[in-house]
Symmetry: C2
Subunit: 409 residues, 2 copies
């Protein structure tokens, strides 16, 4: 029997899960513009000097080793539906029987002017290293000024990403930077801006309130019901017309499907791909979509959260769907098993909500810690991350404060 050819665009959580689930029944090729998977849930720890950049990345060829799946480092340019081929920017044409689009997401600015020019995103290792370098540069400026100049770091967006970022920044400033030069650290403000009336909208209001209190204890200025109208150089203009100085603005207000989906000319809904409940892209029965780039599939028509568990479940599901097609069985409809949400705020501080059970504080924090270690790909990253975390925890230090962005030589 000739195995069907499956091309998977994107080597993230979803793409790699699909690849590994498919290699026994299909001839699989994974395509990604990076030769590594980025472990996005821990990227904010690279931004805040807690983890080494290399430890939140994992070589895709390493992840696929022994599976028989092929890898191509490239970006897709277009799909030739007639000949069932996808064209890559490496000039290759890959034949496919099934195409899985798992390209993930990019920062969404919701049409707010200035976001792409003046805010820093949180989606790639390079962006994380840029945030780290910018924070450390501003800190070095304050050390040099030796006066009362203040610097503000603003995180826009009070979801899990924004909360984790703001908490980690506050700990960096009040911990290691204070030890480095106390007076300079005392002149850095960390602020979290949220348009809604509470933080962490996916959680219960009691955990939202707890999160706000915990962040404020760490020194974060939490601003609720504060909508951003526009960003300017070192400045945030609010909807009410007032403005805030902001030397560094980090955009955690939302993401949208990767721009590559426009290029591929597939049907979209909102800013994600339009998919059936089977996870097939609308009108294209041999093209599948999963994870952040796939639009609403729930029975209520609500889009699923853009988190790793969704992509992983969908990756496994699509592999089974393709198997059903091969065996001439009917397709099923995807339904997401929500295993709960969690967000870490800082040392011994996190919130976890699983099926009505609410946890906060140290137990929640330990749960967060072990689940992230468990999901981290590869033994070396586990060991390295555990070593960095243990060190940070015991010494209250963060060793990776190096300015290593592309600006330096």
């Amino acid at each position: 029997m000739i195995k069907p050819k499956v091309v998977i665009l994107g080597g993230g959580f979803g793409g790699l899960t699909a690849a590994r689930s498919l290699t026994s029944i299909a001839d699989v090729t994974v395509v990604d513009r990076h030769n590594f998977q980025t472990f996005l849930p821990l990227l904010y720890q690279v931004s805040t000097a807690g983890l080494a950049a290399d430890h939140v990345a994992y070589p895709i060829r390493g992840a696929l080793r022994g599976s028989g799946a092929k890898f191509r480092m490239a970006s897709p340019i277009s799909i030739d539906h007639k000949n069932k081929q996808v064209k890559l920017d490496s000039s290759e044409l890959l034949d496919f029987d099934h195409l899985i689009v798992a390209l993930g997401s990019t920062t969404a600015d919701f049409g707010i002017p200035g976001v792409s020019e003046f805010a820093l995103g949180m989606k790639t290792v390079n962006e994380a290293l840029t945030i780290r370098a910018e924070v450390m540069r501003r800190f070095e400026d304050l050390c040099r000024f030796e006066d009362n100049t203040r610097f503000s770091i603003s995180v826009v967006g009070g979801g899990p990403t924004g909360v984790e970022m703001a908490g980690a920044l506050a700990e960096l400033v009040r911990g290691p930077l204070k030890s480095d030069q106390a007076n300079a650290a005392a002149h850095i403000d960390v602020r979290l801006i949220e348009a809604g009336d509470r933080l962490l909208p996916p959680f219960s209001p009691s955990l939202s309130a707890r999160t706000k209190k915990d962040l404020e204890k760490l020194g974060v200025q939490v601003m609720l019901k504060t909508a951003v109208k526009e960003l300017e150089h070192r400045k945030i203009i609010l909807k009410d017309g007032s403005s805030l100085p902001s030397e560094i603005t980090i955009w955690a207000a939302g993401v949208k499907g990767s721009p590559a989906m426009q290029q591929l000319n597939l049907p979209t809904v909102g800013n994600r791909l339009s998919v059936e409940q089977t996870l097939q892209v609308k009108n294209y029965p041999n093209i599948w979509a999963l994870g952040d780039i796939a639009g609403a599939v729930g029975k209520d028509g609500r889009a699923l959260p853009m988190v790793a568990p969704v992509a992983i479940q969908q990756g496994k599901f699509i592999a089974k769907q393709i198997d059903r097609l091969i065996k001439l069985k009917p397709l099923k409809e995807f339904s997401y098993v929500d295993k709960g949400s969690m967000a870490t705020i800082g040392r011994n501080k996190a919130v976890v909500e699983v099926k009505g059970i609410k946890l906060a504080g140290t137990i929640a924090w330990l749960t967060w810690l072990w689940l992230h270690l468990f999901y981290l790909l590869g033994g070396r990253n586990k060991i390295g991350t555990m070593a960095d975390w243990t060190w940070n925890y015991l010494t209250f230090d963060r060793g990776n404060r190096h300015i290593m962005d592309s600006e330096i030589n």
Copy 2:
């Protein structure tokens, strides 16, 4: 008693040693263009995916914590000898009673055309990440070509740096890259080019021969008595007129004093600063130089090797000299205590030469390993490096194969 003001230009091994030795008797400021020290002896392991970039760096403020020394992230522009001030590119003027120049070295091209355009240097973290990214990109190209195209990586210079680099590259290609995609890895050639008639000139000829044999066992093509005339795009032109294809050329043929020394307008000899046996810069009794940037101080007029132990010994020595001046005691003359040389070639393979004792193989390799861990600054880097090394050793893998240079987003 008012403490004298000491400004130290450069936060490498020598500068930081001097700083820590001086804080009890002087008011110390360290100036460096990076906010971290780079552990240069292990940088080649970043280039070859063995270590995370963050683990060969250490925050200078962390190294100076508790010592009372100040830090400025900046580069020196000029010295005002009359007012005893050094001007920084951050627009600051720092007063000094003593100035210590510890700016290190940069790649030397010996006037060979094309080196700065077509060769990759080995002096900074960014250069190391560029080498890693270039090697991995060429490997991904070969994976895509799926034909008999060959790629050559050439290391120019058969000293310890070139030997360690060539050995580590060969192990990367024959180990992890072979596991990633055996056919592509088999099409990569690693070559070491040396103008002299043996490798490792500072060692005994028997260890040079052993090193050559060990490298060849790893698959490195060792070319002795091969002088480079010029570099072109993807090509090396030799003195005899012949040429070699070389997709990646790594320059390990030598270093010279940092170019900042020209800017500071201090007397030079060859391409390093001209210093007295007291380590004072010629004609400037209150300006000192140490490490790679300091010229010959030996009684025989021979320049000292550009290695960390020289800089560390000189850093301590200059601190004592300044103490002697404060106590109105006569200055002494520096003499270097040579503690031996070592170079690692690969897994269980190294050469060590200490006072006539010659070691090779596993014992030499273990000696190299422990001495480097001992010299590595900071507990976190020790733990992280040990974790990466243990992992690499047990699994024959190298986890940091990520393409993370400034070219990607």
